[in-house]
């Protein structure tokens, strides 16, 4: 009767938890694994130069966004410079100026770029006027001749552009092309040449400079170079062409920075201009991104989920929800395996702090604090203090030790010791106290055994709790707590042998 009741309760909890879990996973589109995708990038342009006391004017093109990318936040670090952003043709240009400047100067442009997915057709662009280029002498002749060869091999504008790019990319592009490109042409030069050839045929074309927004595996900040491609006006739109392959459209991760054949940055009144561009991807978790994009249906349910909480509280729950998991693991270690630990939930809390310190460093720091604390505790033993004052004294020593460890390791130039501050000090104090009592009553072997048992359990809990996938599952599907609840209920009536009982009673098995 009693057992039936227990099994029914456990089965109900497990079914309820699994049911909600399945519904959310299968019908509401919650992702089962922590897919992260890069949706946001930080881009930065850093301008450095050396000023020598004269008025300085530095300017740089800045991106204006495209139909694929939106500039969501911009930030200028100007120092003592005055600064202005102005439109210039289809570009934006930021200009910094100052009356006097001396020595090395650094200016920054920083922007947050977010990928947008719009399916709306782009508004038509007005037919651009092709200004007749003054091409004279041999170059004009060469362009005309090259054009003639290409037109013969193409049907329409896109195929013509592709053919032109193919021709310019050949190792041996022919005499006409070589005359236009010069020796050892850069990508930029090829694009400009293509623009000139196309313009001479009356086809509106322009060069585009931009950066590639790669999806990094981690949050990494990478220096990047400008890439160049070609845009041709066709069917009331500017279409991009990859200058390496001649294909259209250009890869999605290309962010246009500015258009035209000008230089990225200009400098007046100073020397040694250097421009560095960096791009750093920012990972975003699948669920958050999906919620933002509205891919997960039934947002009403979401309003009453953990995702409705402020982000910092969400972060707290990400950790808090792992505690039940650690507790279940602890139950298994104690009641099924039979490992002895100090304090019921001490290993789980230690495992939580291992998440901050890392496993090996955590074990090292924990051992150091406990060993030092124990030696102080043994000294205090000789003073025959009463219980509560003695505990308070050990607590004070533990806090002092933690601070000292942080200071010493920081002083030696490492940040690794700083994380010791995250250890739960009261738990450490109680561990030291219990360990010393066991040491006195049962001997060092038993004390060290239980100490190692605690560490082993903490390490096991850490390994499980540190799996990203586990963290994701329990946070996105908190109803799995019901399943954990059911497991603990069942384990609460586990009356079989513990693994270590087999060792303890092995003599009885012999006879």
């Amino acid at each position: 009767m009693n057992k039936l009741h227990l099994y029914l309760l456990a089965a109900t909890a497990a079914c309820l938890g699994l049911g909600i879990f399945m519904y959310k996973a299968l019908f509401m589109g919650f992702p089962l694994s922590p897919v992260t995708s890069t949706e946001v990038w930080n881009v930065q342009a850093r301008i450095r130069f050396v000023a020598d006391g004269n008025p300085v004017k530095a300017s740089i093109f800045i991106p204006s966004g495209s139909n694929r990318y939106a500039i969501v936040d911009e930030h200028f670090v100007s120092g003592s410079f005055g600064f202005v952003v102005a439109r210039e043709d289809s570009n934006r240009r930021a200009t910094w100026s100052v009356r006097r400047a001396n020595g090395k100067q650094s200016l920054y442009y920083q922007a947050v770029v977010r990928r947008v997915r719009t399916s709306a057709p782009l508004p038509g662009v007005e037919q651009p006027q092709v200004a007749p280029r003054s091409m004279e002498g041999p170059t004009a002749q060469a362009a005309k001749a090259l054009l003639g060869e290409i037109v013969a091999k193409s049907a329409d504008t896109p195929t013509m552009v592709a053919e032109l790019i193919k021709r310019l990319n050949r190792p041996d592009p022919g005499e006409n092309a070589r005359l236009l490109l010069g020796a050892k042409p850069t990508e930029e030069r090829k694009v400009r040449t293509a623009v000139r050839v196309l313009e001479s045929a009356g086809i509106p074309a322009r060069a585009v400079s931009g950066v590639s927004l790669k999806e990094g595996p981690e949050e990494s900040s990478k220096k990047t170079n400008l890439i160049h491609w070609l845009e041709v006006y066709e069917k009331q739109q500017w279409q991009g062409f990859d200058p390496r392959t001649g294909t259209s459209p250009v890869p999605v991760d290309w962010l246009p920075w500015f258009r035209g054949s000008k230089k990225l940055a200009t400098l007046e009144g100073a020397t040694d201009l250097r421009v560095t561009l960096t791009v750093s991807p920012k990972l975003e978790e699948g669920v958050a991104a999906a919620v933002r994009r509205g891919e997960i249906s039934k947002p009403v349910l979401l309003r009453f989920s953990l995702f409705s909480l402020p982000v910092n509280i969400q972060a707290v729950y990400k950790v808090t929800l792992l505690v039940p998991l650690g507790a279940v693991l602890l139950v298994i270690m104690r009641n099924v395996v039979g490992i002895k630990t100090f304090g019921t939930f001490m290993p789980v809390l230690i495992a939580l702090s291992f998440r901050e310190t890392g496993l090996l460093r955590g074990i090292f720091l924990f051992s150091v604090v406990v060993a030092l604390g124990l030696s102080v505790r043994f000294y205090l033993e000789r003073l025959k203090l009463l219980v509560v004052p003695r505990l308070a004294a050990v607590l004070i020593v533990v806090v002092g030790l933690m601070a000292a460890l942080s200071i010493v390791s920081y002083g030696l130039g490492g940040h690794s010791g700083l994380s010791v501050a995250l250890f739960p000090m009261v738990i450490l104090t109680m561990t030291i106290e219990r360990m010393s009592i066991v040491w006195e009553e049962r001997g060092s072997v038993e004390a060290v055994t239980a100490g190692l048992g605690s560490l082993l359990t903490a390490a096991a809990a850490f390994v499980v709790m540190n799996i990203k996938w586990v963290e994701h599952l329990i946070f996105v599907f908190p109803e799995l707590l019901l399943v954990l609840f059911a497991i603990t209920l069942i384990l609460g009536r586990y009356t079989g042998y513990r693994l270590l009982d087999l060792y303890r009673f092995r003599d009885l098995a012999r006879g």
Binding site: N335, G338, V388, D501, F505, L508, A509
Partner: protein, 316 residues
């Protein structure tokens, strides 16, 4: 590993999960625990029920009463100081003699009156109690153990542990202090556990640490094959203790006094499981048998004879 598991199952070895879930949690109501966790309460209860216990000389519950210690002791030169909430034999001082303001311990060491008082202060503050709660010091008669044990115990007080289930004694052992256990009768600390045949009161094989032995490691005298005097009386005493507390599953610790016979020392609501090793026998078959028959057994005498009939060592 699997073969060990099967052998243990076949023998019916009771392990801790099952003891907790199916015996202590089921048969020992929480409300009765204070009766056995506080030794002064147990003693009071035993005296009310006519069960022999070591005479109580006095209780010290608050610090200022320590000053009255000489009054409490009166003319007694031998006594025991123990914490009412102690466990595992911790905090027990056995005084064998007294010279004006000095006391002689069981190992011959002398302590001063001040040291004795400090021990009591520390005891009152909860040094030896479970969870460190304030405690009471029990000052009582020192058991002069039966000459039978003189040659097979090293200092300390040997005691007899009998597991009683639903009023019926199911398994028993003698716990002999050794040099390693520092005079304590706790198996964890290195005392010897010697199984006792319930039917005859004769000692069986002995377990010390993890080894089966037949002689006391410190004195060299055999520990197997000894006959405990007044065995029937001991069994009856343990059965009476079960009636007294109302706990279904309990361990009764009894000392054999030279002059006063069996004296109940304390009762344990969660008795250990190593007793099975000393008896080379699992508890489960005996517990199952008791559960089947206990309702038909009316009084202590019937229960004792049931135990002596069914729990012979040869049947194991």
């Amino acid at each position: 590993m699997l073969s060990i598991l099967r052998a243990l199952k076949r023998k019916g070895v009771l392990a801790i999960n099952k003891r907790n879930a199916d015996y202590t949690l089921k048969f020992n109501p929480r409300s009765l625990y204070p009766l056995v966790d506080d030794k002064s309460l147990t003693k009071q209860l035993a005296q009310d029920n006519g069960i022999a216990v070591p005479d109580l000389y006095g209780l010290i519950t608050v610090e200022h009463q320590v000053r009255d210690l000489p009054t409490i002791l009166g003319s007694h030169t031998e006594f025991v100081v123990k914490p009412a909430h102690g466990s595992g034999g911790e905090g027990i001082l056995v005084i064998h003699g007294r010279l004006t303001d000095k006391y002689r311990l069981s190992n011959g060491q002398m302590i001063t009156h001040d040291e004795l008082c400090h021990h009591i202060y520390a005891l009152l503050s909860g040094l030896y109690s479970l969870g460190g709660q304030p405690d009471t010091a029990v000052i009582e008669y020192r058991v002069e153990f039966d000459p039978l044990f003189e040659r097979i115990s090293y200092q300390g007080v040997p005691d007899i542990r009998i597991i009683v289930f639903l009023g019926i004694p199911v398994m028993a052992m003698v716990r002999l202090p050794t040099r390693m256990s520092q005079g304590k009768a706790n198996l964890h600390q290195g005392a010897i556990g010697v199984g006792i045949d319930i039917a005859t009161g004769e000692t069986l094989s002995a377990v010390w640490k993890n080894d089966i032995i037949s002689e006391h490691p410190d004195t060299g005298y055999p520990v197997t094959g000894l006959r405990i005097p007044n065995w029937e009386g001991l069994l009856a005493l343990s059965a009476k203790c079960s009636e007294m507390t109302g706990l279904g599953y309990q361990g009764v610790d009894i000392a054999l006094d030279k002059h006063k016979g069996p004296l109940m020392l304390e009762i344990n609501a969660r008795p250990g499981l190593n007793i099975q090793i000393g008896n080379n026998c699992g508890l489960l078959p005996r517990l199952d048998l008791v559960e089947k028959h206990h309702l038909s057994l009316k009084d202590v005498a019937e229960r004792v004879s049931f135990a002596r009939q069914h729990f012979r060592a040869a049947l194991c």
